[in-house]
């Protein structure tokens, strides 16, 4: 269907509350190399609004949001490449 994405690191932030999963993502991306892909698992409903908003604001790329069921989503984000 589409080109498979290589995820460099997955962060399990299930059980962490707003804005915990977003904070985990920010920390994860901070230590990542440009162009690397980070996935975050979150069970916090606020992540569905907050993570895409932050990703856009910070100039990163929202690669995909997957619904894993039972209230858990997986947010796949690529760190921006400075031109």
């Amino acid at each position: 269907m589409s080109t498979p994405i290589t995820i460099n690191r997955e962060i399990d932030a299930r059980g962490s509350h707003c804005p915990g999963p977003l904070m985990e993502l920010i920390r994860g991306l901070k230590s990542a190399q440009e162009g690397e892909v980070i996935a975050v698992l979150s069970s916090d409903a606020g992540s569905k609004t907050d993570i895409p908003l932050w990703v856009q604001k910070a100039g990163n790329e929202m690669v995909a949001i997957e619904d894993l069921g039972e209230g858990v989503s997986r947010f796949i984000v690529r760190k921006h490449v400075r031109k």
């Binding site: 059980g15 962490s16 509350h17 707003c18 804005p19 915990g20 977003l22 904070m23 920010i26 920390r27 901070k30 907050d50 908003l53 932050w54 604001k57 910070a58």
Partner: protein
């Protein structure tokens, strides 16, 4: 400068800053303030946190470890909040503020009036407090903020 100050404030661009007066010292409101500060820091805003009255008391060294107070109108939920926070491993408001400072610019200042009223010295406060300032210094920050909150 006072003659045209109205004009100045009408045309001054709003800084990308959120100013919070943290008057409360109960754990529920401290939690709300810490989450707001974290959200603003995450979204790239500067945060100016002005502690006054019970807000200063909550930042006395070590106080946050034993502060289980909640707003009086929800006093019956005090123990429930503590239990739920422990059960769900929620981060404390102090941890939230530390996290916010890791990712953004969060400046925490304590009100000099409160400090004097209760004989509190800056060394009596948690090291996360940057400095002691007067109200006018805070107002100068708040004047030029896109968001201002009183908690």
């Amino acid at each position: 400068m006072f003659a045209n100050s109205g004009q100045e404030s009408a045309t001054a661009p709003q800084a990308n800053r959120m100013s919070i007066v943290l008057f409360s010292g109960t754990a529920d409101k401290l939690m709300a303030a810490s989450i707001m500060a974290t959200g603003a820091a995450a979204m790239g805003m500067d945060v100016e946190l002005f502690l006054t009255t019970w807000g200063v008391m909550a930042f006395r060294k070590g106080d946050y470890r034993t502060n289980t107070r909640v707003s009086a109108d929800y006093a019956e939920y005090g123990s429930v909040m503590q239990e739920q926070m422990a059960a769900k491993k929620a981060t404390s408001w102090m941890e939230n503020l530390e996290g916010a400072r890791e990712i953004g610019h969060v400046h925490i200042a304590a009100c000099s009036h409160t400090m004097e009223l209760f004989d509190i010295k800056v060394e009596d406060l948690e090291p996360i407090v940057d400095e002691v300032i007067g109200v006018a210094a805070f107002i100068e920050q708040a004047r030029n903020s896109a968001i201002s909150l009183f908690i």
